[in-house]
C-alpha cells in the first residue's frame, strides 16, 4: 500500500493473507474467499490465514489457518504466458472454497458483495478503502497490515499511466469495463496487495457497512493509479459458483 497507514485486522476483518505469493483476499462468507485470479492461477492450494494484523511467525502460528477445498478461477481469465509479461487482466477474479467454515468474530468477518442496482455504480471521486501487506514506498512488503483510502477515477486515467521501464507496449494493455481505475498521486495499492478488497460503504444505510466493489488487480506502476477488478460485474458468477459448489449443509 502506497500512501497508507498502519491498520488493524479489526479495521478490515475480511482481509485474508495469502502466503506464497504474498497477496490478499476477501472473506465473503464462512466458506468462500474472493481474490484475484492471478493470485491463485498457479497455486491450487494456497496457504491462507485470517484474523491477523502482523505477519510475524508467532502471529501466524496463532492465526486461523484457512484450508482450501477448491480454487475456482473465472472462466474468462486467460492463462498466463510465461514468455510475455501479462498485459490482459480481464476477469481477474477467483473464488477459493474453504474446507471448514470460518468462525466469525471481531477479527473474522466477511465483506458484503455489491448489489446489482445502479446505486452500486461507482463514480469518479468515490472513495474506497484498500488494505494489504504489499509493497510500500519503502519496503517490498510489510509486517503489519496497512490501509489507505483511494478515490475512483476514470479508466482513461489508468490507460494514460506510463511505465518507467516498459516491459510491454502501452497499447498491449487491456482495459475493460470489468475494471475500476482508482488512486491518486502517492496513494495506491501495489505488489503483494493483489486480491485484496477495494471496499466502499454500502449506499443508503445508516450504520457504516462495506461491500467489495473491487479487487486489487494490476497497475503499470505503483504510487498513482491502480486497476481493480469490478466485482459488480461478477456477482451472478460468484453466487452461481458458490451455489453450485455448496455441499450438503452441515447445520
Amino acid at each position: 500500500i502506497f500512501g497508507g497507514q498502519p491498520a488493524k485486522i479489526e479495521n478490515f476483518p475480511w482481509q485474508v493473507f495469502f502466503n506464497h505469493p504474498t497477496a490478499g483476499g476477501a472473506l465473503i462468507n464462512e466458506y468462500w474467499v474472493l481474490t484475484a485470479a492471478h493470485v491463485v492461477e498457479k497455486n491450487s492450494d494456497p496457504s491462507m490465514y485470517a484474523g491477523i494484523t502482523a505477519l510475524r511467525l508467532a502471529d501466524l502460528e496463532n492465526a486461523q489457518r484457512l484450508y482450501t477445498k477448491r480454487v475456482i478461477i473465472h472462466p474468462g481469465w486467460k492463462e498466463d504466458d510465461d514468455l510475455n509479461p501479462r498485459t490482459n487482466f480481464d476477469n481477474d477474479i477467483a473464488l477459493v472454497q474453504l474446507k471448514d467454515p470460518v468462525k466469525m468474530g471481531p477479527k473474522f468477518s466477511p465483506i458484503c458483495l455489491p448489489g446489482t442496482s445502479s446505486e452500486y455504480n461507482l463514480s469518479p471521486g468515490d472513495m474506497g478503502l484498500i488494505s494489504g501487506w504489499g509493497r510500500t514506498e519503502k519496503r517490498l512488503h510489510v509486517i503489519n497490515l496497512r490501509g489507505a483510502k483511494v478515490p475512483v477515477t476514470s479508466l482513461e486515467t489508468c490507460k494514460q499511466v506510463k511505465e518507467e521501464n516498459p516491459t510491454a507496449r502501452p497499447e498491449d494493455y487491456v482495459i475493460t469495463d470489468n475494471m475500476i481505475c482508482a488512486g491518486e498521486k502517492g496513494v495506491d495499492s501495489c505488489k503483494g496487495d493483489s486480491g485484496g478488497a477495494f471496499a466502499f460503504q454500502v449506499p443508503n444505510v445508516k450504520a457504516p457497512k462495506f461491500y467489495v466493489a473491487g479487487l486489487v488487480s494490476w497497475g503499470k506502476k505503483c504510487g498513482a493509479y491502480g486497476v481493480y477488478t469490478k466485482v459488480k460485474n461478477y456477482v451472478d458468477w460468484i453466487l452461481k459458483t458458490m451455489q453450485e459448489n455448496s455441499g450438503p449443509r452441515k447445520d
Partner: protein, 422 residues
Amino acid sequence: EPTMHGEILSPNYPQAYPNDVVKSWDIEVPEGFGIHLYFTHVDIEPSESCAYDSVQIISGGIEEGRLCGQRTSKSPNSPIIEEFQFPYNKLQVVFTSDFSIEEQFTGFAAYYTAIDVNECTDFTDVPCSHFCNNFIGGYFCSCPPEYFLHDDMRNCGVNCSGDVFTALIGEISSPNYPNPYPENSRCEYQIQLQEGFQVVVTMQREDFDVEPADSEGNCPDSLTFAAKNQQFGPYCGDGFPGPLTIRTQSNTLGIVFQTDLMGQKKGWKLRYHGDPISCPKESTANSNWEPDKAKYVFKDVVKITCVDGFEVVEGHVSSTSYYSTCQSDGQWSNSGLKCQPVYCGIPDPIANGKVEEPENSVFGTVIHYTCEEPYYYMEHEEGGEYRCAANGRWVNDQLGIELPRCIPVCGVPTEPFQVQQK
C-alpha cells in the same frame, strides 16, 4: 349300669344304722325314662329340718326332698310312706348320720322303678317344632304335609331352597305368598345372570309383610340380599323398609329368607331384572370419546382420541387414539392409558447460534433460537421462535421444521479505519 328298678337300704337295715355315716347312691335308669322313687320304711333320728340324720333326694344337683323321723303309710292299702317322681333318668340319694347317744334307729328302705316320661308334655320346653309323639322310653317329632324334619330331628321346615333364577327378568316370592309363609324355615335363592348384567331388584312396599323387629331391632324373620361384597338387609316389618330399587352391581345375587317358629305373616314378593352393567362416563383429560353417549354399557367400545398436541404412549409406541371397552365388571379396559402432551424432545442445536433449554419440551412450549450477535444474524427475521407442535416437532411459522440459519454479518468492521489527514 342303668337298671329298670332297684332297692336302696340304709346301712345295717333293718338293724340300727351306725353313727357318722355318709352314704350315697347314684340311681340311673335307661334314657327316655323317668324315676319313681318311693320309701316303704323311714326310721331316722328326727331333728329340726332333719339337721342331724337324714336321707336326701337330689336330682340335677337340686335337693328335691329330705327325710327323717319315723314315717308310716297314710294309706292302709299301700306300703308307700313317701314317693317321688322325676322326669329324668338320674337321681342321687344320700344318707347321713352323725354321732348320737340317743336310742337307735333302723334307717330306711326305698325302691325305685323306671317310669315312662312324656317328653311331649312333661317339660316346659317343647321338644318338637310341630308334632310331638311320645312312646315308652322316648319320643319323636313329625311334620305337617309339605314340611320336612330337619337334621336335628326336632324342627320342621319347608323345602324352599335351591331355586336358581337365570332369566333376565323374573319374580320371586316367599313360600305360600300371599298366604302366611312357613315358620322355622330358611329359604335360599340364587339369581345368576350372565356376566355383564347387574341384578336390579324392585320391591313394592306393600308386597312386603314380615314379622317386625323386636324392641332391640332384631328381625325374627328376615329377608336378606347378598351380592359380591355387599349385603342388603336384613329386612323385616310391614312394608318394605329398604330402597324400593336395589342395584347390586353384580350379576349374581343371593336371597335368604329366614323365619322362626312364631309370627308368620304374608311374606314378600319381588321383581328383578338384568340391567347391563354400565361403565362410568369418565371425563378423560385432553381427549374425545367416540361415540359420545350419555351412558355406556357392557361391551360398548369407545375410541378415545387425544386432542391436538396430546398422545397416548404404550411402551415405546405412541399414537393419537386408543380403544376402550366397557367390561363386565363395570370398568373400562385400557383405563391406565392417558392422553399426555406430545414431547418434542431437546431442540437441535444450530451453528453460530443457540437455543435456550426449555423447562419441558411438551406440546405448546415455545423456544427461541438466537444468533451470536453481532457477528451473525438470523436469515429470516422472525425465524427464531419455534413451538412444540402436535406432530412432536419444533415448528416455526415461516420455516416449519427447518432450523434457522445464522448468517455472518458482512461489511461491518469491529473498528472503523480512520484515515489520518496529513
